[in-house]
């Protein structure tokens, strides 16, 4: 169910943009209006969400410690998994954000007869996730070449590296291959692992289908669309300089690609894709475990009712005296 709803939603987006670009003459809408609107939604939405997160304070310091604490001088502490310095926290976060360190720990638990519980390493999710995110990032950076003139040499270098194997014409870029494989893997595990299928929402499939559609349309444009790059570049730089122009001959496929990217941008702030920002703000990861060394202040702390010693003694004084225990008041 979830999966079909999401699939149809993405197909509808594709059909809409094909119709818009080829029949309905929506070039201006697809090429100028929607990209601007999507960009604005993205920026405002992301800023709003991040502000909303940041507005909620962190009342308690609650790092999840994944290694030895810093205590006695002769016990080696785990600087990254249980950081007690800012450098340690930064290290933990960098490893988390760039290399998905927590996912790398992943294991698979299996209850066999006996009963015997066995654990195996399970790096597939880590590998698939990392492959997708890194290739997405490289592809994203590669796209800068459409927006700037002259193209900085490091971008060309990156692209050169990406097309290292020099197969096909245009040269096949590795990241295109990787992103499609990784996305397919992420999708398939959602469909075939019963646990994943159980927990998945339409939104989970939708994000994957949309990303797949974007990647596929991009691949189509690059390898089969035979469009004039200079026209695309004209459109892109025009958008960027706030003097949009609509060049001829960019083709329907390109509009589909652009429209899907716009959809992704507009969808982003309302979706789980915001995990990109959330990862930086997670209090179990981005705080040092210096709880007993430094006092953490709760901004909304308020006084609570307590049972004082005096009240306690008042209730039990006689019995305390009988038992020969010292009391404050006779």
């Amino acid at each position: 169910m979830s999966i079909l709803v999401s699939l149809f939603a993405v197909i509808a987006l594709v059909v809409l943009s094909i119709a818009g670009a080829s029949v309905l003459g929506w070039q201006y809408i697809l090429g100028v209006v929607l990209p601007y609107a999507a960009m604005a939604t993205f920026v405002i939405g992301v800023v709003y969400r991040v502000i909303r997160w940041a507005r909620s304070p962190v009342p308690f310091r609650i790092p999840t410690t994944c290694g030895q604490q810093k205590s006695l001088s002769w016990i080696k502490s785990s600087r990254l998994d249980n950081p007690h310095t800012l450098a340690g926290v930064i290290g933990r976060m960098v490893l988390e954000v760039l290399f998905f360190r927590s996912l790398f720990r992943n294991t698979r638990a299996e209850l066999r007869s006996g009963p015997r519980l066995v654990y195996g390493p399970d790096k597939w999710l880590w590998a698939g996730g990392l492959a997708f995110h890194w290739s997405f990032l490289i592809i994203f950076i590669r796209h800068f070449k459409y927006f700037v003139e002259p193209v900085p040499s490091w971008i060309l270098g990156l692209q050169g590296l990406d097309g290292f194997f020099q197969v096909g014409l245009p040269v096949l870029l590795l990241t295109d291959l990787i992103i499609l494989t990784a996305l397919s893997f992420l999708l398939l595990r959602r469909v075939f692992d019963p646990k994943l299928r159980y927990m998945s929402l339409p939104a989970d499939y939708f994000a994957l289908f949309l990303l797949l559609a974007i990647a596929l349309s991009g691949v189509y444009v690059r390898y089969f669309g035979k469009i004039d790059i200079s026209n695309v570049k004209e459109l892109a730089t025009g958008l960027l300089s706030l003097h949009p122009v609509l060049p001829d001959g960019v083709g329907t496929a390109f509009y589909v690609h652009l429209f899907l990217v716009s959809a992704l941008l507009a969808y982003f702030p309302f979706s789980k894709l915001m995990h990109m920002g959330g990862v930086f703000l997670s209090p179990t990861r981005n705080l040092a475990n210096t709880n007993r060394r430094r006092r953490h202040v709760n901004p909304w702390d308020y006084p609570v009712a307590v049972h004082t010693y005096d009240e306690y003694e008042d209730e039990f004084r006689d019995r305390m005296k009988d038992a020969g225990m010292p009391v404050e008041r006779e």
Partner: protein, 539 residues
């Protein structure tokens, strides 16, 4: 124990059986053995908590206030504004599934709603429905669920099937801590009067008498004195155990089970022997006669209310710093909440061992030191005379309690002590210890008998790891540093791994500690006779 308890072979037949209707369907069946009794009205009244009344989860009518839904939604809104953790955790989960098989309750029950991610979704779906644009417009399609009475019942069932152990949080790429979500959900439920007995009675006892068991001051004194007598019988040394003594250097606080339950009691004997041997200038307190804090399983406000007595008593008695005994959730509170909630403790001094001179700078602000940190330092400085062969009848392994492991990182200290006082120590498999340790299955207030089936299921992963070292190394004693563990691992192992006992780290210290003027020990602290002396010399 109840006659409804299935055999281990039956219980181990765990099948993953997701309902074809998906998790959005909130129907739950309150099956005997898998839930806890509701709190009686008296305890709620004593604590001033809302909606005291008699009811049980199996009742059709839970006697909620008419506006229960508004209360909860309002409470959720308030907590989203107060806790970044909640707000971020509600928004960032991608349902990648990495946490799914990390929960002992999921492993042991196969119930898909015990996957941490789905447990969180039970609350998240209501959040989406009421607090997000997509949820408001698309409803179910966007994963939103309206808060109905069935959803509330489902919350009660599953948020009291989470021991707040944080194992899931270790594996989540965003550090999403389902324990934190469970804590919020329990707070919300408490707003409309949904509480469990096993949490609320200890809380109200603790509020009144200073400890969970409701032991009054004279009873407290009796228990400690009884232990002093017993220790004298075993060691021939009469120790001094001052109570409520003003002007002592150190206040010692430990869970009440240590002086009232077994096998905790042997650990208490260990403390007493140790403090005497090093000549510690310390005192017990009858007002602060509980280190544990069941408030942690209820709400942040109760944590603060119950924990206030520690600093208050330290101030009244004029001590310099506080030493804390073996407990798990107590240390989560002391380490992660106490300074913030009840501090600043600037009337105390930075803890310093009077024996070795070591400054515990890592506790410079909270001014409270864990006994294993204190003892490890003593041993490292060679201040204790130890005879580990007195523990030779034990082949030991160590269970990291969830809170010291994943909220402190107290991993090496106990191991260092155990290796110094025991000749036979074996680690369980690495996926089950340290930060990956498995819960006893009964933490966070779930250690009650009517919940036995769920406890045995949840404890299966832990027990299974014990089984491994039992089979391979003949391990016969599981050591731990937590009062709840000592209480609940005992029936757990009896069920899954007969032949393995449960003990405390300072019980081992007490056995090994060679005391000045002691008589020849013929029994260990449990009163179990040692084999005749010649035998042990010859080995």
């Amino acid at each position: 124990m109840s006659e409804h308890k299935p055999k281990p072979e039956e219980l181990a037949q765990v099948e993953f059986a997701p309902s074809p209707r998906g998790w959005m369907d909130p129907t739950v069946e309150f099956r005997k053995g898998t839930w806890c009794y509701s709190a009686v009205p008296e305890t709620l009244e004593y604590l001033g908590l809302p909606n005291p009344r008699r009811w049980q989860p199996t009742d059709h009518d839970w006697k909620l206030p008419d506006n229960w839904r508004e209360i909860i939604v309002h409470g959720l809104r308030e907590r989203l504004r107060k806790y970044r953790s909640l707000q971020v955790f509600m928004d960032t989960c991608v349902r990648c599934g990495a946490c799914a098989d990390k929960c002992h309750f999921f492993i042991g029950s196969g119930d898909p709603k015990n996957m941490p991610v789905v447990r969180a979704e039970l609350l998240r779906s209501v959040y989406r429905n009421d607090f997000t644009t997509a949820g408001r417009i698309l409803g179910k399609l966007a994963g939103g669920r309206e808060l109905t009475i069935d959803v509330l019942k489902e919350w009660f069932y599953y948020f009291y099937q989470c021991t707040e152990c944080r194992r899931c949080s270790v594996f989540c790429p965003y550090g999403i801590d389902t324990a934190e979500i469970t804590m919020m959900a329990r707070e919300l439920m408490s707003l409309v009067g949904l509480n469990i007995e096993w949490i609320c009675t200890p809380m109200s006892n603790c509020y009144r008498t200073g400890n969970h068991l409701g032991v009054q001051p004279h009873g407290f004194k009796d228990s400690i004195e009884f232990a002093v007598d017993e220790l004298e019988e075993i060691t021939g040394v009469r120790v001094n155990a001052p109570i409520n003594r003003k002007g002592a250097e150190i206040l010692f606080i430990t869970p009440s089970a240590d002086y009232f339950a077994s096998p905790h009691y042997y650990t208490l004997l260990g403390y007493l022997a140790l403090f005497h041997e090093i000549g510690l200038d310390y005192t017990w307190s009858s007002y602060a006669s509980e280190g544990g804090n069941f408030g942690l399983f209820h709400s942040a406000e109760m944590v603060k209310r119950l924990n206030a007595k520690m600093y208050a008593e330290a101030r009244r008695l004029g001590v310099k710093w506080i030493l804390g005994g073996e407990c798990g959730h107590m240390w989560r509170v002391i380490h992660q909440y106490m300074g913030t909630m009840n501090g600043p403790a600037d009337f105390l001094e930075v803890p310093r061992s009077p024996i070795t001179g070591t400054e515990f700078v890592h506790a410079a602000s909270t001014k409270m030191v864990h006994i294993s940190e204190f003892t490890a330092d003593l041993i490292k400085h060679g201040r204790l005379k130890l005879d580990p062969s007195r523990n030779d009848h034990w082949r030991t392994t160590f269970h990291d309690s969830c809170n010291p492991a994943r909220a402190m990182g107290l991993l090496e200290e106990p191991r260092y002590i155990i290796k110094s006082v025991c000749n036979h120590f074996f680690e369980m498999p690495e996926n089950t210890i340290r930060e990956q340790t498995f819960c006893c299955g009964s933490g966070a207030g779930l250690g009650t008998d009517e919940n036995m089936e769920m406890r045995l299921r949840g404890g299966l992963p832990r027990a299974n790891a014990v089984q491994f070292v039992h089979d391979r190394h003949d391990v016969n004693l599981l050591l731990c540093m937590c009062a709840i563990d000592k209480a609940t691992l005992t029936p757990l192992l009896e069920y899954w791994v007969p032949g393995v006992d449960v003990g405390g780290v300072h019980e081992m210290v007490g056995n090994a500690l060679v005391m000045k003027g002691e008589k020849e020990r013929t029994t260990d602290l449990r009163g179990q006779p040692y084999p005749a002396k010649e035998d042990s010399r010859n080995v």
